[in-house]
Symmetry: C2
């Protein structure tokens, strides 16, 4: 195999196995070449990825070591992406009665949630979450893509019990904006005890759901290391039930006119990237 | 930029923008080089990907043309992956009372559902689905990853109505194995009319849910081009309500002994890959 072919194959393997520790020995055997050659190739790939600002190739030395590709997005690309998304979400046909916004298509489009997951992962990686938690249904794709970029499992809190999940823990919570009492439930096996969790959700208004998930996390002795939200509803002008969350976009239904966009990116938060 | 660096950057862009048509002009401008040079680089990448059997670089000629990376997995890797997954799912601690199997953790683990989505995409791509449809909740990650590999949106059928989805169509269906009447619902905007859809779900027993989704699809004048299921329950020995589905694994609770694995891969179906 020529060097160029090997480098392309190596790049492909690294990118399609994000966060997995792959040993030099594995590559040396697979490409029937010396570890020193592989090491040199990996150095070239690492530098190229650094130049284009798309992820980091981490080298772990020693016998149990190897390399691990950590996907990330650079600030410029993230800003452009979120500005375009805000523009799309501001279209007048997305405004629904009651001050709601239609986002379902966006939240299930892989070409959109993949980069969003990459942005959340780039922001929260340094807090070393072990699990990404969300509540069904619309937050699932965001949580899954974030978990994929971080190399950790996703855990989905549900509204109802299922026979296929074994014993579970449930709590009641008050949806802050509607004052309704609801139930959320999570299987004992799903999360384990004492994990560092990153909570991801698509929307925040009063914060009742987010607060509910945080209470549920206490039942599992989990440490919440971050709360990432795609969009906050800024029309909620009362104190929210949670603080310390990071929203990528803000939505203000009163701004949905020709002069003003209803959805705007929250620029000042990019310094977290 | 040296040729090797450019080739790594090109490979990265192609792999992280699956199914997107990218023009030679776009690359030529981005890398400040001639289209003929880019064309030569892409030829090298195409050949390397072909050798390792991981996806296909499609070239579309003409002024509006360019290249598009179509992710896929080769048969050998798919077989090894599904055999390992069957072994994991056969562990005795996964068996739940009532002949159920615990799969929740697996279905929300990106490192597992990503390859599963790639397998479904590799099988069903030739039928040109325009949308991947599933029903909440556990099928969502599989559907999303399949949609990502196919470059199409996912659409999630729900069990209850939401104010944020506008007008919707609902049907009642009978869960074949439990004889309960349930409701499924899908927003008018979510799917549009006359689409080619691929249905993906995690489990099939009697086939009531799958049949329900197919009836719902008729309401949208959709053409169902495929039905992909992660696991079929072979303990259901009555005729199923749907046929023509493709399952990757089979589960037989009566086989869950030391000598027999409860879950096995369905080898004969790989000729679809």
């Amino acid at each position: 195999m020529k060097r160029t072919d090997r480098i392309i194959a190596l790049t492909e393997i690294l990118l399609t196995h994000p966060n997995e520790l792959l040993s030099l020995g594995y590559f040396a055997e697979r490409f029937d070449t010396a570890k020193s050659t592989i090491s040199e190739d990996l150095g070239t790939i690492k530098e190229s990825l650094r130049i284009i600002g798309r992820g980091y190739l981490e080298t772990i030395p020693g016998a149990a070591g190897g390399v691990r590709f950590l996907p990330s997005i650079n600030q410029e690309e993230a800003e452009i992406f979120l500005a375009n998304l805000a523009e799309e979400l501001s279209k007048s046909e997305r405004m629904l009665p009651g001050g709601f916004i239609y986002t379902t298509d966006i939240l299930y489009k892989p070409a959109i949630v993949r980069p969003l997951g990459l942005i959340f992962a780039s922001i929260f990686r340094k807090r070393n979450p072990e699990v990404v938690v969300t509540i069904e249904t619309k937050g699932i794709p965001l949580a899954l893509m974030t978990a994929d970029c971080l190399g950790v499992p996703a855990v989905i809190v549900r509204h109802g019990n299922k026979v296929t999940e074994g014993s579970s823990v449930s709590i009641n919570y008050i949806s802050g904006s509607s004052d309704r009492i609801q139930t959320m439930i999570l299987g004992r096996k799903a999360l384990g005890v004492g994990k560092k969790v990153l909570i991801i959700d698509d929307f925040i208004k009063a914060g009742g759901t987010a607060k509910g998930i945080m209470s549920l996390m206490q039942e599992f002795e989990a440490e919440v290391v971050g709360l990432g939200i795609l969009m906050e509803d800024t029309s909620w002008n009362v104190t929210r039930l949670v603080d310390n969350y990071l929203a990528l976009l803000q939505f203000d239904v009163s701004d949905s006119s020709i002069e003003q966009s209803a959805v705007k990116p929250k620029n000042m938060l990019y310094n977290n990237l």
